[in-house]
Amino acid sequence: MSAKSSTEKLTPALELKGVGKSFGNVVALRDVDLAVYPGQVTCVLGDNGAGKSTLIKILSGVHKQSEGEFNVAGAPADFNSPRDAMAKGIATVFQDLATVPLMSVWRNFFLGNEPKKWWKPLGILDIAKAKKVAKEQLLEMGIDLRDTNQAIGTLSGGERQAVAIARAVYFGANVLILDEPTSALGVRQSGIVLKYILAARERGVAVIFITHNPHHANLVGDHFFLLNRGRMIASFERETVVLDELIQAMAGGSELDTLTHEINIIRND
């Protein structure tokens, strides 16, 4: 309880108050409250179609909310594009769209933010610096590569996500939005990504971890928000939540009971 009261005195890095979003007459999100604090992992859980994608798109500047308030570090956000969000230090790592597989690790690490030498407008890459920094930064996040020259496609899926996370952190992200970073990964790979989520948290980054996997959320999360049919239906704190409760709440409680019941009938057949 004491941890919770201390966070409430801080200004949230991101804050949503009564946010809604509708596309024509389809309501994707309604009355969503969310607060994200630096140095903490905030998990947003939801099944398919719960409104997770719409939420990410509002936070990362792709869409504007139809109603409600969106504050960044206490001031109202007015994002017209993902670039605006990036300029405010909000970095989004999309599931499969974070890296270019055929390009080397260091080229991927600095993609879009290349270090330049000599006369800047010429755009001459400072390759030595890029390789050195990429190697150092990855090592700091616990990724030990033999050679940053290797194509990033030769790394495992978890390592690739990790490079994308390390990149976002290095380029000054103070809010990191991770869109289902573990959904396509095996157990071991997911473990790697979860470790980097905690590494980013240690650096004081506010991490928003969007997932449909309550087990992964439970391992790293400080706060948990449950999204269902476009509404925040519940929120928990790390100290008070139990995994079963998360799973139950996420699947919509009674729905899971019904499902369990139905499956039991089939099995008994």
Partner: protein
């Protein structure tokens, strides 16, 4: 423990593996094999010497200059099928400006390059705006220009040929830059070879040492990921369309100055030579990987065939068949090499 382990891992990336990772390796090996083959089959005793080099570079240089930029465009994930016909369009435009309008060679050349840049800009904008494959968009440009070349040339000159460009007062001064010969130990090399080497070095530097090069790889490798990372994908691609078109126009003007005239059908079909050169040189047809040097080696192989086959007293009619076989084997070997270099993972 950790350091010992990482040392062991570094040792595994041997020099051979590093070499295998180079996209142009397959082309280089192929070029050596083909060169040796023609040197052995040679009946004139000149193929492997300077005379032979002057011959095959004369054929390869104009292909190489455009193929380099076609390769960059292909790495960025786009095709330009109008690059061949643009050689003709540029030559005819410059020729008509000189002989029909009466402009000097230099101003005609500048107007021609600007025009080519605008065509490239149109190609680029149409590809980006419509979202249609560049294969279709530039195929359309190809046919539009092919028709224009013939129709406008006939309209202006009454024939299918533009002549009389050598009457311009600055003809010789322009020629000394773009169509003169350089004597090296009794062999006379076309100056286009110097341009070819220069562009190869420039494009290699651009691709591997600049931010723009990084964006070229990213745009072709995964345009969405590139966009998410803040790379201006549309701008990168449009710029390359413009530059490719201008490179073709430069070759068109060079050809015009060398031949002192131009046929309306010039350049048509050359676009396939450019794409073959790029593909033989290790450029991936799906984009995201390749090299400028590779495209130049591909162009050199074509030069070997064009000169080597008559030198060996073989039937010249087989040149295209030969190039077809080379294209297929080179791409097969390149694919196999790059798979081996990347290892079994993924």
């Amino acid at each position: 423990m950790t350091t010992a382990k990482s040392d062991e891992r570094i040792q595994r990336v041997s020099f051979v593996t590093k070499a295998l990772r180079r996209p142009e390796l397959g082309a280089l090996l192929g070029a050596l094999v083909i060169f040796t083959m023609f040197a052995v089959a040679d009946t004139t005793g000149q193929f492997a010497g300077l005379q032979g080099a002057a011959g095959w570079t004369h054929f390869a240089a104009p292909i190489g200059i455009v193929a380099i930029f076609v390769a960059l465009l292909m790495i960025a994930g786009e095709f330009d099928l109008s690059s061949g016909v643009m050689v003709g369009t540029a030559g005819l435009l410059a020729g008509n400006l000189i002989s029909e309008v009466g402009l000097g060679v230099w101003p005609s050349m500048i107007i021609t390059l600007v025009f080519a840049g605008l065509v490239g800009l149109a190609n680029g904008f149409l590809v980006i705006r419509t979202g249609l494959p560049s294969f279709i968009v530039t195929l359309a440009t190809f046919f539009v220009l092919k028709g224009v070349n013939l129709a406008v040339t006939k309209m202006l000159t009454g024939t299918v040929r533009v002549d009389g460009v050598d009457v311009a007062s600055d003809f010789e001064s322009a020629r000394s830059w773009f169509a003169t010969k350089i004597e090296i130990a009794g062999a006379s090399f076309q100056i286009s070879v110097v341009w070819w080497i220069g562009f190869t070095i420039f494009a290699t530097w651009l691709l591997t040492r600049t931010t723009f090069g990084n964006w070229i790889f990213a745009s072709g490798g995964d345009a969405n990921a590139a966009r998410n990372a803040g790379v201006p994908v549309a701008r990168t691609k449009i710029t390359l369309f413009v530059v490719t078109s201008m490179a073709a126009a430069l070759v068109g003007v060079m050809t015009l100055l060398e031949l002192r005239g131009m046929q309306a059908g010039q350049g048509v079909g050359q676009e396939f030579y450019y794409i073959i050169a790029a593909a033989v040189g290790g450029t991936l047809l799906t984009g995201g990987a390749g090299s400028a040097i590779g495209a130049s080696i591909g162009a050199a192989i074509m030069g070997f065939a064009a000169i080597g086959i008559p030198y060996a007293l073989w039937d010249q009619d087989w040149v295209s068949t030969f190039l077809g076989v080379i294209l297929f084997s080179a791409v097969l070997v390149n694919t196999w090499l790059s798979k081996r270099a990347k290892g079994a993972r993924k």
